[in-house]
Each structure stands twice: as structure tokens, then as C-alpha cells.
Assembly symmetry: C2
């Protein structure tokens, strides 16, 4: 097991009715900026629940944070927050609203000239303050509600970059499985795929004798495999939705990656597919992961064999065949949730992926747990994903 | 899945050499009170490592905190801390030193007349302040290093009581598996039993469709079963010790009990065996648990069947036989670690347990996840443990 540090001070309020308790978690007399997305919370009643719960507070609103939240949009919230001198932010939404709010929280008091530096120059600029915030999660997927990371896009440069800082952990996050009942099927399916890939990227690397982390990763994968399809066929089953929701949070609250190598290449490549083609985040993961696993199966062999046996119960066949079958079953799992796994399913051709390869060539990034995935391999992986 | 709240702000520094980093975690200019036990840390080099790491700080020492830490001893540390006006406490030891330090941390600034009220009147007295503290764990077992609970004994009344408060979470805990190399076998074995029973008490209750919590509990049990014996036969195997150490912490950091019923009857009964006979904490658990499971096997049937299949791989036989076999295997696991499972192994007779039964009769406590374990059942369980 590798050395590690762990710190996660987010308070979780989990369960039906928990939105009613958020008033207790926010400092009295705080001026709250409530951030949200396209307005679905006004149609499904979540907005009303939140407003009722915060009747003792003064609230200003900032709606319209889009999926893959844009720097350009978020800077308007930063301006609003600065002008009104907000004391607390309440993010009501999915991963995009939460990620966007993390950026807003850090950018409002940011002392530098250009808040884009928070994303562009991580580690080189100082974040010494952040507006405290809480979240009401409406879409289980990214785990943003219990970590300190955010991914932000910028239209003007077609960039999608991430940052993380201990000051942008949420103070609290409310997870009420009931709020997910009204979500469209594809968003639930996307959430399950996103969480599944998050776990895989912390689990399918090379073994370091971190037996607990392996078992816990496997426990989440098993739960997602069992609950994911049921979340689509029985959308009003509270316990199914509760297990999906909690799985998504635990997949990225940091506990799985302690003391183990992590990959994250699928996410990094996927971000570019979103930046260039506007594909849903989870869709890009379902496209990239199978090809990436095939391309890295020698490096990941030992863990894929464990994954094959413990998760997919594959026990017979040559090692090569077992590895291939585990990857096939993973791809089939995504498809069983009606998430497509090929670029061509979205009409994307070989020619269209060239700018992505070019960008990786320029960046000279080496991805994956072994830093072995260079632009050449990324090209091969993307071509195999057509 | 039941509703739950979760909050755990403890920073964990895990791995070889991490003692060297504690200076970064303590406020500059703090006057530190270092608490420890019987002095083994001076013989095995841990004391020197800590002192070296804190060379920039002023330190006063309070040694001599005994196993099952005593109120009478701890109050001396409270007096010292008050007199010297300490700003920070560093607990270096096992669960007893850590639990004792939690009490010291809360008692130094306690505004009430009698600090014993912290234990005697939980919820009825106010803890509004605590001296911040960190820990260097020397004995993996109780998980005290990552939770807000402590168990304290009082000689004058033969009581062993617990308290918990969010203000007594450690600020940080250092877990270096290397420091466990010099532990005697029986302490390692006790730690494995303690952690195993902690997991069981959050897992073997009644099912509430909390599938992740089940899987994670099972993951820890499997790891303890695989690593426990190896920790005795290969005491210098870093990865074995690391997995045991991290399992012990995760067993009681709160994450397993979220949204599920918990039992804790074994611990509550075991505490009395320690209070009356001075038995090691883990020894009392190894004695009580098998009899308790046999006495409650109808209430726990569904989960014991799951435990039998997933942990002990028992798949054939009648349900009754499977349940019995799972309990037998659990008892045999404790014995395989050379931890005895009978009161008679320690020369304790039927007559001697009468005062314990009397005390439970007076208290009229109903223990267990169903509040169904009354003094009559406790008598039956203890008699079956002879």
C-alpha cells in the first residue's frame, strides 16, 4: 500500500426529507446566493422545498449554469456575488452546478487578476479564501458533492480544465434519493456509468496490496451493476435510488484512491470529446473506457483478472480470454443501460477526431497510472472507439 | 436504507515515515501536552521520532495512561493541562491513550463542576469547547484515531462509560504501520478481534437494503480474516500490517454504520467483563460475541445467512446448520489468533458473573438492534460463555 493523506470534512445529510434541515447548517444572518441550472428544479418541486427550508434567510438567485459549466457563465455569478457581498452559496443541482459553484466560491474572493488562472495555473496561484457553500444534489453521478474537485469549460478556447482545493469542499451536501425520481432515464444511466468509471479508474491499475481499497471498489461496482438497471426499470424504488446515489458519492469522495495508483486517462480523453463534440460526460466515458482497457490490458492484466473473477464471475478460459471477456461484459453493461459505446453511434468520424489528437500532441501529456498513454496511444484508442 | 448524517473531519497521515510530518499539522507556537501510556514508546523509538519531529515546539509530557484509561489518572492530566495552559495535545499510543486524551481534551475547558458528568450525563451537559489534539497511533484496534468516541473507566465506582462529541474528533492521526512491528502478538491479535467485532456489530443486524454498507463491511471482514493470521506469522510484512491498521480505522470511522441498524450489545456486555475482571477489551468481545450470536440468531438470521455465504463460503446445508456453522467459524477465527473464547479459560465461574447481571438488572437497559437483549438474556449469554 502506498503512503497517503486523507481529509474530507464534508457533512452529508442523506435521506428523504433532509432538504428540510439545511437551514440548521447555514450561519444565521447569511446572505445566500442560490445557484442552479436550467430551471428543472422549479418544475419538479425541489426549488420550493429549498426556499421553504430557508424561509429565515435572505436569498439571491443565480440560475442558468449549463451542463459542462462555462467559465463565461460562472463569471457572471462571480460578479453578482462580489457586488452583493454574499456570505454563503447554496448549489442546487447536479455535478455541473456543483462544480460551477466550487469555481464561483474560489473566484469571488480571488486576489489575482484573472480567475481563469485558478484552472489554468493550478499550484502556481494561491487560493487563500473561498465563500463557504452547501449543496442539494439533484443528479447522482460525479460525486462533486463530497470532494474538492471541479471541471470547468471555456468556450472561447474550447478548453475543459479541472482544479481542486481543500477550501472548496462543500460545508454540507444534502442527498435525498426522492429528488432523483423525476430524472430522465438517460441522466440516471449516465450517472451510473460515470460512477462505475470513477471506480474503475481507481481500481484497474496495478496491484499494490491495498486489499481493502480493492474490496471497497468491488463493492461499489457490484452495487452499481445490481442497482443500475433497476434504477431504470423501477424509478420509484427508494432503496434502489438510495444505493445508486450513495455509490456515486462514495466513488469519488477520495476513499477509494488512498494508497493506490490511479488512472484517470479515460476522463481526460473523455473531456476532450465533450469539449469538441458536446457529448454528455458519461457518454464519452462509455466510449473511451472499453478501447482504453483493450489498449492497456497488458499493463492492467493482474487487476483485470481479479475484476473478471470477483465482479463478472468469469473463472474459465485462458487468461487472455478472461481479460477480453471482462472488458466485453463492461461494455455490454453500459449498453444495457442504453448508453452507446461507439463514436460512430453519434456520427463522429475518424477525420473529426484529428484536432483532439493534435491537442494531445501539443500538450505532450502522458496519461494513466504508468504515464504511458501518449498522444500516439490516445489516437489508437480513439480510432478503436469509432 | 435509513436516513443518516455523516461528518468526519479527521485528517489521516498514513504510511512509513509520516511521524516526520506532524510538525506541519500543529499551530506554530502551540504549547503541546504529549500524552502516552506505560512508556513502551520510549523503548521502541516512537518517542524519539515524535520528539525529533516536534523539535520546534515546547512540549510537556503526561505519561502513565493505563489500558482502559481511568478517570482518576486522566484528571491529573486535566489539572496539568489547566495549570500549564496547553494549546494542543498530542496523544501517542493505542486506543486507551487516545480515548483518555479525548476526555482530557473535553475536560480541560469543561465549565461544569464535575467532569465525570461528561461520561455520566451525555446529552444533558454541554461541551462547548475542547483542546485540539492529534494522535500518533501505536496499536491498531479501536479506531479511536478517526472517530469522536471514548470509553473511560472509573475505579471508585467500577464503571466503564463512553461519550462522544464532534469537538473531540482528532485534528489529525498518524498511522505508520512500521510502529506496529514491535507489538506483542497478543496485542495484534486483540486488535484484529476488536476490529472484526466492530464490523460485525454494524453488519449482523437486520437487512435494510443498504447494499454498499453490507459490501464494505464484508470487505473489511475478508481483509481481517486474510491478514490477521499473517500479521502474527509475518510481523515485519509492511503490507500486511498496513492492511490490518487501515481496516481497524475504517471499522469505526462511522462509514459502516450509516443508514443501518447497529447492535453494540457485545461491546456493552464486554465492558462489564473488563470492569469486573480486568480482561482485555478484545478478549471480552471474543467471549461474548459467539454466545450472543447464538442467542440472537433468529433475529439476525437473514444477515447471518448472507455472512455465511459471502464471508465463510458456506453454501450447503439447512439454513439452521449454515447459521450455526458461520458462528462456529467466527469463534474458530478468534481461536486461530490465540484469543480464547470462554470465561472458564480465564478461571471465571458462574458465581462471579452475578454482580454483572445484577448491574444490568438495575440499569434496565435493553441492548441490541431490536432493544431485545435485557438482563435475562444477558444472563443466558454470559452463562453460555462460561
Amino acid at each position: 500500500m502506498n503512503n497517503f493523506d486523507f481529509y474530507n470534512p464534508v457533512k452529508i445529510l442523506f435521506g428523504e426529507g433532509k432538504i428540510g434541515e439545511i437551514g440548521n447548517e447555514i450561519p444565521k444572518d447569511a446572505l445566500i446566493m442560490m445557484t442552479y441550472g436550467g430551471g428543472s428544479i422549479k418544475r419538479n418541486g425541489i426549488y420550493d422545498q429549498v426556499i421553504k427550508s430557508l424561509s429565515a434567510f435572505k436569498i439571491i438567485e443565480f440560475g442558468g449554469i449549463e451542463p459542462n459549466p462555462k467559465y463565461e457563465t460562472l463569471m457572471k455569478a462571480v460578479e453578482l456575488g462580489r457586488t452583493k457581498k454574499v456570505d454563503f452559496i447554496l448549489a442546487v443541482g447536479g455535478g455541473s452546478v456543483l462544480d460551477g459553484t466550487k469555481f464561483i466560491s474560489a473566484a469571488i474572493p480571488f486576489a489575482g487578476n484573472d480567475p481563469w488562472d485558478i484552472l489554468k495555473k493550478p499550484g502556481k496561484i494561491e487560493i487563500s479564501n473561498a465563500i463557504p457553500y452547501g449543496t442539494v444534489l439533484t443528479l447522482p453521478a460525479t460525486g462533486s458533492e463530497m470532494n474538492m474537485y471541479a471541471v470547468i469549460s471555456r468556450d472561447s478556447t474550447t478548453e475543459k480544465l479541472s482544479f481542486g482545493h481543500p477550501l472548496v469542499f462543500p460545508k454540507f451536501s444534502v442527498l435525498d434519493p426522492v429528488v432523483t425520481y423525476s430524472l430522465p432515464d438517460n441522466q440516471i444511466a449516465n450517472g451510473v456509468v460515470d460512477a462505475f468509471v470513477h471506480v474503475i479508474e481507481q481500481y484497474l491499475t496495478y496491484p499494490v496490496k491495498a486489499y481493502i481499497q480493492d474490496r471497497w471498489a468491488e463493492g461499489l461496482l457490484q452495487t452499481l451493476i445490481e442497482m443500475g438497471p433497476k434504477a431504470l426499470t423501477s424509478p420509484l424504488n427508494y432503496d434502489v435510488r438510495a444505493n445508486v446515489m450513495w455509490s456515486c458519492t462514495l466513488a469519488t469522495n477520495g476513499i477509494l484512491s488512498l494508497g493506490v495508483p490511479t488512472d484517470w486517462a479515460t476522463h481526460t480523453i473523455g473531456h476532450e470529446l465533450t469539449a469538441f463534440f458536446g457529448l454528455d460526460h458519461a457518454v464519452t466515458l462509455a466510449i473511451v473506457l472499453p478501447s482504453l482497457l483493450r489498449d492497456t490490458k497488458e499493463e492492467k492484466r493482474q487487476k483485470i483478472l481479479q475484476f473478471a473473477e470477483r465482479i463478472w464471475n468469469i473463472k474459465v478460459g485462458t487468461e487472455d480470454r478472461i481479460v477480453d471477456e471482462a472488458i466485453e461484459k463492461t461494455e455490454a453493461f453500459f449498453q444495457s443501460l442504453n448508453v452507446k459505446t461507439r463514436l460512430s453511434d453519434y456520427g463522429i468520424t475518424k477525420e473529426q477526431i484529428r484536432p483532439i489528437i493534435q491537442r494531445f500532441e501539443e500538450r505532450r501529456w502522458k496519461l494513466g497510472e504508468n504515464k504511458s498513454i501518449d498522444s500516439e496511444r490516445i489516437q489508437r484508442i480513439l480510432l478503436a472507439s469509432i
